[in-house]
Symmetry: C2
Amino acid sequence: VKAHNVCGPLGQDRQRELYEGRQTWRKREFLFRAGDPAGPVFKIITGIVAVAKRLPDGRRQILGFFYPGELCGYLETEGRYTYEGEAITDVWACSFSRARFKAFTAAHRDLAEIVSATLARKLESVSTHMTVVGQLSSVERAAAFLCELKAHYEERGLKGSTLALPMTRDDIGDYLGVRMETASRAFSVLKRLGIIDITDTAVIVTNSAGLAALARPIASHDA
Amino acid sequence: VKAHNVCGPLGQDRQRELYEGRQTWRKREFLFRAGDPAGPVFKIITGIVAVAKRLPDGRRQILGFFYPGELCGYLETEGRYTYEGEAITDVWACSFSRARFKAFTAAHRDLAEIVSATLARKLESVSTHMTVVGQLSSVERAAAFLCELKAHYEERGLKGSTLALPMTRDDIGDYLGVRMETASRAFSVLKRLGIIDITDTAVIVTNSAGLAALARPIASHDA
DNA sequence: CGGTTAGTTGAGTGCATTCAATCCCAGTGG
DNA sequence: CCACTGGGATTGAATGCACTCAACTAACCG
């Protein structure tokens, strides 16, 4: 995955003021864990981070996958990270001092607005995903997931029907609120329906309209 | 339900500047519908509003119940309300002009911060609820719902183990991502376990610890 | 007093889960 | 070079939980 749009909502110059350091994490390492004292906010340069809430008995709900250009680790509860952030692939990210980040957004009016807008967008995407998890069947959920991924890639200028799937079936399952086996079976159904092809590390959408139809209930981008 | 904390995050004086009018809605009327041109933002004085996303085939995910003192209807997509807001009980609310609301928060630095904090809190509560819907069994979900309601009432100073349930089983089901009958059965199970009593319009928590244990996975307030 | 709506409960079905077996591939060491 | 090993993915078989459909009750309202 390319590393463009590294600045995101912050401008280049502003980003420099907040910059604290860069770091890499290997696949399956944690950038931060729920309950740890809230340290830096992270901006992903390359790689994918899964932000999740984990239950005492080990169950895990992945709240979102975070891609290059996105900020993660900003939510805190009583001075501690609210969720955990796990590197799904090898990750390269910038750390921003949380204190400076806060002071900075407080001081710049337009930035505060951008922060609000970003939070509102996240709130909307989480709400949409809650509808996916709460209302759709497993096959519909899988379709919705692939649609979302497709839209995500296209927004970043990566046209084409081949979607890289760096996350495991386990991750996808925990994102969609089903077991890994169910996620796998759902993909198999989509393949049997002639909607996708499955290769080793990617999915090829062969019937984009059919995919959208299955995910229709959500319809985030056919307005 | 009492109408205290009517100001919420805004101060009294500020609220007056934005005030546009008061209105009442009967039970089951809509304050706003998804897709309608984004009109006012609403601040609930008395009553409860269910904010929901509805799928073309009629399925509905209730994203949250909004109580007196809370703002709703602020999320918009391309100039239209993103979700629908339905009066669960008779509702009395203030309307605030969206344009003036935006201008106002943009102009006042501290207010912008409050808006961000509010959005962040909402984001967290939606994320928690996504975990409930994605990971818990129906009985656990019911327990989590009652815990949440209990905490909500207690935050507003209403001690006591009697929880008014103004919403129907249908509403509760659509909130928890199960069918109405399943919600009803889940309550019956809790009753059979000696954890709650069910009266006509309320639930009495007879074993608060037991309830919390069932909802434990979520544990939003045992830190 | 009928008509309607909310809630509960039963019976049967179906979909997702659990448990287990197999396959494939990448990495490792003989 | 190839056998060995471990992790991810797929698939089968059986279970169980939630869903569907339906009956019935209780409350409310005309």
